[in-house]
């Protein structure tokens, strides 16, 4: 009898111990591929994967569209702000030059592929679903994937420079496979991937306005990728279509659009960080003011305050007045159009497009003619155009107009990369730091290169620690 009682007690203790263990043990132990448990089933569930990304874009993020902080970094790498006059101690909080941030670009690379992974899960899961809602979600996935591959192309691949032959692209991953170890595609294949994804997004005809990426935004990105890749005919065509639907603004409408700190208004098609809380942005802007605006940039405003951008862009005492922003807007399309016309040999049309932009910005301006174009400034860091050809007064005027128009929008760094990757130097504590040609192309993550047989690192990044 006593034996039975003892056995009952053992049973009680065992149950109690089991309960305690169950309550505290790890719930997500090795929960890497939870098949049949949390895999989404419906378009709504799949959209949740991407809604987070949309939320981040609106709050401000540095991966997909960018925000004040990421634009500020890009401006520190470029030359519209005078790095040689960086003021301290504030200068300690911003990059002196691109070399300060190159190792951190491995994180950007990983984040871009995380977004691509989510897009691939959505596109795999909804492949057979033909409902209108599924079409919207798939369109969003194509849009995000296309933009991420475009960002990878600009940051992690060498620029076109007149010839794509032999140039590397990035690894192209279009299905969800955790074990995949993909090597780099060619430059042209990556461009094709971006263009296909953006076109697929357009074909999905996203109707849900909360998804941010409508057909016009996608056309704008198509113009961007074709322009970056030297496909000037397609770039001009896409840019013209956007401009037809979103014509250039001038005067007060332009000023109010540029000074709006929240939602993108006017002909801003896409803007990052529209719902940013502001304190982080204000801090990034105040830090950036430690670099005075470069005199060479200020001198581009030959018409002074007659140019509406002068007052919008510049403050007193060599500070900037314009708020840095990451956006896609019609004026960039006009810049793409005029330069694409130039590179196609359509110089008369290019000059006309240039004059059209200037008439929208400069009060009482007289149109340029081929004879009145200002000479090329020999002190400009840019010495050659995107095809590696010597600058002519026309292409130089086009590049300068773009520089003024897209000041503090994170554009100049990519313009330097696209047009010859010039070497520039700055200094800190008696030492000279040079932005070398290879630094315009960011490094692939060290671990990826080690773990993936055949994955080629970009030149200049052989030494690691």
């Amino acid at each position: 009898m006593k034996e039975i009682k003892v056995m009952k007690n053992i049973g009680k203790y065992a149950v109690l111990a089991g309960l305690v263990l169950a309550a505290v043990s790890c719930t997500d132990y090795l929960d890497i591929k939870p098949y049949g448990k949390t895999i989404p089933q419906t378009p709504e569930e799949y959209s949740a994967l991407l809604q987070t990304r949309l939320y981040e874009i609106e709050e401000g993020e540095e991966t997909i569209i960018g925000d004040v902080g990421s634009v500020a970094d890009l401006e520190c790498y470029a030359d519209d702000l005078e790095s040689k006059l960086t003021q301290y101690p504030t200068g300690n909080y911003v990059p002196l030059y691109v070399g300060d941030d190159l190792s951190d670009k491995q994180v950007l690379y990983a984040h871009l592929y995380e977004v691509i992974r989510d897009c691939n899960i959505v596109l795999d899961g909804l492949a057979e679903d033909t409902s209108e809602e599924a079409s919207d979600v798939k369109g969003l996935a194509y849009a995000l994937r296309g933009i991420c591959y475009y960002n990878l192309l600009r940051d992690f691949c060498e620029p076109w420079e007149g010839n794509a032959s032999g140039k590397l692209g990035v690894p192209l991953v279009t299905v969800f496979d955790m074990e995949a170890r993909t090597i780099r595609s060619s430059f042209s294949e990556t461009v094709e991937r971006v263009a296909d994804d953006l076109q697929s997004a357009i074909d999905c005809n996203i109707r849900n306005e909360d998804y941010l990426f409508d057909s016009d935004v996608m056309l704008g990105y198509l113009a961007r990728v074709h322009f970056w890749a030297g496909n000037y005919s397609q770039a001009a065509s896409c840019a013209s279509q956007v401009l037809e639907r979103h014509p250039l603004l001038g005067g007060d409408a332009y000023k109010s659009m540029m000074e709006e700190t929240g939602e993108g208004t006017g002909n801003i098609l896409m803007k990052g960080g529209t719902r940013s809380t502001g304190s982080g942005d204000s801090q990034a802007i105040s830090y950036l003011q430690c670099k005075p605006v470069s005199k060479q940039f200020i001198n581009l405003f030959a018409e002074g305050e007659q140019d509406i951008r002068y007052g919008i862009s510049l403050g007193k005492k060599r500070t900037f007045a314009k708020r840095p922003m990451a956006c896609l807007r019609s004026a960039e399309m006009q810049c793409i159009l005029m330069e694409s016309q130039y590179h196609q040999g359509l110089e008369t049309e290019a000059l006309a497009s240039l004059n059209e932009l200037r008439r929208h910005r400069i009060t009482g301006v007289t149109d340029y003619t081929m004879e009145t174009l200002p000479p090329v400034d020999p002190d400009d860091n840019v010495k050659v155009d995107a095809r590696g050809q010597a600058l002519t007064p026309l292409i130089y005027a086009i590049l300068c107009e773009r520089r003024k128009e897209l000041f503090l929008e994170g554009d100049r760094w990519y313009e330097l990369k696209r047009n010859g990757r010039p070497e520039m130097w700055t200094h800190r504590q008696g030492r000279k730091y040079t932005t070398l040609e290879f630094m315009y192309t960011f490094p692939l993550p060290i671990a990826d290169v080690i773990l993936t047989d055949g994955l080629v690192q970009n030149p200049g990044y052989d030494n690691v620690k």
């Binding site: 263990l21 005078e82 491995q106 005492k317 000279k432 060290i446 990826d448 990044y461």
Partner: protein, 72 residues
């Protein structure tokens, strides 16, 4: 005697289970980050010392800047 032994064994087992549960895998590192054990930073070319010509360029820019901020 037998009863007491069983009692001690059960109590010991219970105590061991409690200890195990207390230290169990709250933060299990079953799949360490892929870059664990690898280098994470790139070594860039060393900066050079500023030359006299470099310092002259900087001084010119500084003078121009000082003139600009005192005039507006």
């Amino acid at each position: 005697m037998m009863k007491r032994n069983i009692k001690y064994m059960v109590m010991a087992a219970f105590a061991a289970m409690l200890m195990m549960s207390a230290v169990s895998c709250d933060d299990a590192d079953e799949l360490p980050p892929m870059n664990d054990g690898y280098a994470t930073e790139f070594i860039l070319p060393d900066p050079e010392d500023l030359t006299a010509a470099d310092r002259e360029v900087i001084q010119e820019l500084q003078d121009e800047y000082n003139a600009d901020i005192s005039s507006n």
